[in-house]
Subunit: 365 residues, 2 copies
Amino acid sequence: MRFEEPLELASGARIADYELRYETYGSLNASRDNAVLICHALNASHHVAGRTADDPNGIGWWDNMVGPGRPVDTRRFFVIGVNNLGSCFGSTGPMSINPATGRPYGASFPVVTVEDWVNAQARLADCLGIGRFAAVMGGSLGAMQALSWTIQYPERIGHCVAIATTPRLSAQNIAFNDVARTAIRSDPDFHGGDYYAKGVVPRRGLRVARMIGHITYLSDDDMAEKFGRLLRTPDYEFGYEVEFEVESYLRHQGDKFSEYFDANTYLLITRALDYFDPARAYGGDLVQALAPAQAHFLLVSFTTDWRFSPARAREIVEALVVNGRQVVYAEIDAPHGHDAFLQDDERYHRLVAAYFDNIAAGLAR
Amino acid sequence: MRFEEPLELASGARIADYELRYETYGSLNASRDNAVLICHALNASHHVAGRTADDPNGIGWWDNMVGPGRPVDTRRFFVIGVNNLGSCFGSTGPMSINPATGRPYGASFPVVTVEDWVNAQARLADCLGIGRFAAVMGGSLGAMQALSWTIQYPERIGHCVAIATTPRLSAQNIAFNDVARTAIRSDPDFHGGDYYAKGVVPRRGLRVARMIGHITYLSDDDMAEKFGRLLRTPDYEFGYEVEFEVESYLRHQGDKFSEYFDANTYLLITRALDYFDPARAYGGDLVQALAPAQAHFLLVSFTTDWRFSPARAREIVEALVVNGRQVVYAEIDAPHGHDAFLQDDERYHRLVAAYFDNIAAGLAR
């Protein structure tokens, strides 16, 4: 979808015109009340579910959650996935040509916030003729967008489904992001963000950034279970190449990531994470920040998620309860750490399915 | 101390001749039974206590623990600090000239293990005329050396004082080490480890490595307490330079470290950490691994240490108890994470002081 009207950003900058890439699943019903928006986290995209025709590996990132017969059942709901502004999967971002200069934006692409994304998503909804979403849903950074919808457009969202999230990053979360950004920005191939014209990519930095991130997505227990101290070599080799299985796994994740993800987008999205803090405008008072919300809420956290621990989801739940909102909250005992939100977990999926069944029951016939 | 006899290493390699830099505090008594060896962790040195005459900032890394009137009281104990083989503070390491080539060892310096360090320390003890240590003590990686002393030289160590340690790294611990090493090794200034001749230092990689490490030394709570989401700027700047206090702190730590620490040493020491696993030779049975130990033990862990959590110290304690060893174990409720072992904490210091009082009471007159 192409947008000609400039978008004013939280930073004061504006994007003159831009495109958002999106994908839809299922059909909008006659009363236009069955639309569900799925918001993505750091490295995902509009391609939420199903399989891309020309790419046998292109399975949607939340395909176990969204589809016919899945918890978010596309036989009943009209589901929209949208690639956020500044991301690198088809929407306007640092890799795009800046119409003002004829060259890629690169370092000049403005920093965007969760709130900016929500504004851009609301415009997309306008264009698709969706006045109100039955639900807005996401995990992690995606859930921050869903939360922000309830504050920015309270009348346009029926249910907010926020998985594995937090009302704000902690100092430790910001620290991990900053190390990742430092790795990227200090890669000599970064060229201050304007590497496109040089025909290079700061792959080494991206690789390190992804390796750091990946550790924080998994739980200590899960890593112990999956890899422990298993060696790929028969014995210690007394060198620095891959010996432990966990090294092999992480380096592989880093390599893969550095092949497909844009470094400027990594900076931009981690900064949006850092900045998210709806209570900030109210002196840290989350109750006040969430006061405008009218939606019903489902919040889910996972016991072994040390990136965004259950305690942080409970902070949101408590603020909503004080505001008299209707909240379902579940803390799922799952071994997979932060990544649990993407995994097949029966109790988690059954809960989300039941919640969406209830939403479906409330839709106009 | 210069050693002319070659040292055989666990890897099968040998160091032809080498030097160990050491520092002593207090005096060896007539019966030569009051010696205490202090082993260092990743980035520390022989300079354990006191102030270097020509360097006003050169306070020993464990000066709050070792000295006259301190828990390890140098009026009663003869304390030795030694810079380990492969480190970069005066002992033979990758920066040293390889006598066989006349050039710095660089990448050709052999990988050494905790066990190798203990062997080298035992030789130093021989030269100093110390047959048996009253105690060997360390924190983190230093404590691994103290533990290893009880297995390799059971008759030469009276007490093992092991703080904030673990019987082996977890997959997550190894993962963090590997990311740090990847950051260093992928810095174009690393030149495969032979950067000395090029007149450069892989400073960017070292900086990232240190930033990652530093996050794991602090607790989440401590970081929240110290920095929270405090900004250094009046408001969000919508860029990637330092805005949050925690970014400023971490980058400063990384910068400082990259000025004084050798990158090859960082690889070598983190690999020694990865490899430490005394139970490995016994199919993972720590009880068997610790069977030779005759020492008495003090183990201390800290509640907020998520790098080497109390559960991992308890694993050592249990294996020692099964072996019928005498063990004092304390879990100190301290906010400072892994770094707590270096901090002034009254209960922790009082405990160590009392333990060393008892050791002193048992010394010959």
